[in-house]
Amino acid sequence: MTFSVLEGLRKFNIPYDFEIASIYQYYAKWIREGKLPVNSDWNKDLKLKFTVQDPCQIIRKSYGDPVAEDLRFVAKSLVGEENLIEMWPNRSNNFCCGGGGGFLQSGYTEARHAYGKIKFDQIVATGADYCIAACHNCHAQIHDIAHHFEGKYMTVHLWTLIGLSLGILGPNEREYLGDELKEINMPEE
């Protein structure tokens, strides 16, 4: 978890001599360098709408808006620019989903749902079919509040969409995709 590492290194004066990065930065870099040849052709006719969660611990608390822009560059490359609908507010000013800080494990489930209602409303207002949540706490909470408040959106990891776009996503790697995407870009057996 990005923030616990960065803040832990500072707080406890732990020496290290390497770069500490978020994978969003590298997904973006690899796409720009042509190493990750993704495209949004699979969504040209489907026109499924996506929104993207800015994880507090990666964006606001660690790398700020430059990495939020990397995240958007990756997301738009995958789903098509016209199919990415922003939540409001977003980037460094985004609302926390309510899954962070241990809330998911704290036992205060009712309070966590009340907290998450803000995120739920924010996602539903975009009209998106999918919310991209590339942080495990966000993924678990956004998935759970969809279920709790009976929302229709799906919650998806970034790596699933990259795999889908590249046509390398096996049949068992589609757990978080809806029925309309279960067969799309399926690799040959």
């Binding site: 994978i23 926390c96 241990g102 205060y108």
Partner: protein, 242 residues
């Protein structure tokens, strides 16, 4: 009628004094002018009859016990939107962290404590308790299955403790423990870009519930274990996958 007035007595503000020493730069705690920007921007406002401004004002008034013992300190996610919005950059999130830390360890929420204790069981530092042996077994097993059942992935790799790899990659325990098929797309992506990468048998787990528990010593142990493994392997980039 208003509720009975709170008797302040002699204001001691012990918690505030301690907090100002512990927070880098002092946290600007005395600079609040009660504008409420934090309150309107906080999704935890109103939970457990508390909000960020109320929490801070109570600390400033020396109501240490009433503020720090509120269950609200476990409902604040530490998202830092309050300090981001605050014109005086008052460090309420670190104040909440210190309030959590003021609870006796055994009284902190069982779920968070349990996840931290799991991480302390072995060198994986996994909140789900998976050992290095468990992790290695799952990774090798899933890799073999992909090679056997999916066409064109004969060269797929998922190295563990590869000396000199460029990237040290961490992984949330959820994948190896509960949904191992979710490991595969990332491996394929790393293979396609030609990344020279490795997991560590120690400190591979990406999550850190000890930070959420406000257990400094355990938080440090988890972070140090993972960082030292990446350091030992001579990696150039510590890549957070979440």
């Amino acid at each position: 009628m208003a509720e009975e007035a709170i008797e302040l007595g002699i204001i001691q503000c012990d918690f505030k004094k301690k907090a100002m020493e512990a927070i880098p730069g002092g946290g600007n705690l005395d600079m609040c002018f009660a504008c409420g920007t934090c309150v309107s921007g906080c999704p935890a406002t109103g939970l457990a009859d508390m909000d960020p401004r109320k929490f801070l004002r109570m600390i400033l008034l020396g109501l240490d016990e009433e503020a720090t013992k509120s269950p609200w300190v476990w409902m604040c996610t530490g998202c830092q939107r309050c300090i981001y919005a605050c014109p005086m950059e008052i460090d309420i999130p670190r104040l909440v962290y210190l309030a959590r830390a003021s609870w006796p360890r055994e009284e902190r929420p069982k779920g968070i404590r349990g996840s931290c204790d799991m991480a302390l069981r072995n060198d994986s530092c996994s909140a789900m308790g998976a050992s290095p042996e468990d992790f290695i077994f799952v990774v090798e097993d899933v890799l073999e299955e992909v090679k056997d059942t999916q066409k064109g992935w004969d060269n797929l790799e998922a190295p563990i403790d590869k000396q000199g790899a460029e990237f040290f990659i961490n992984q949330n325990s959820r994948e190896p423990v509960t949904e191992p098929d979710e490991l595969i797309p990332l491996w394929k992506i790393l293979n396609i870009v030609g990344a020279d990468w490795t997991y560590g048998s120690k400190g591979w787990a990406a999550e850190n519930y000890c930070m959420f528990l406000a257990d400094d010593k355990a938080w440090e142990h988890v972070t140090r274990t993972s960082i030292m493994q990446a350091q030992k392997l001579g990696c150039k980039v510590y890549l957070n996958t979440e």
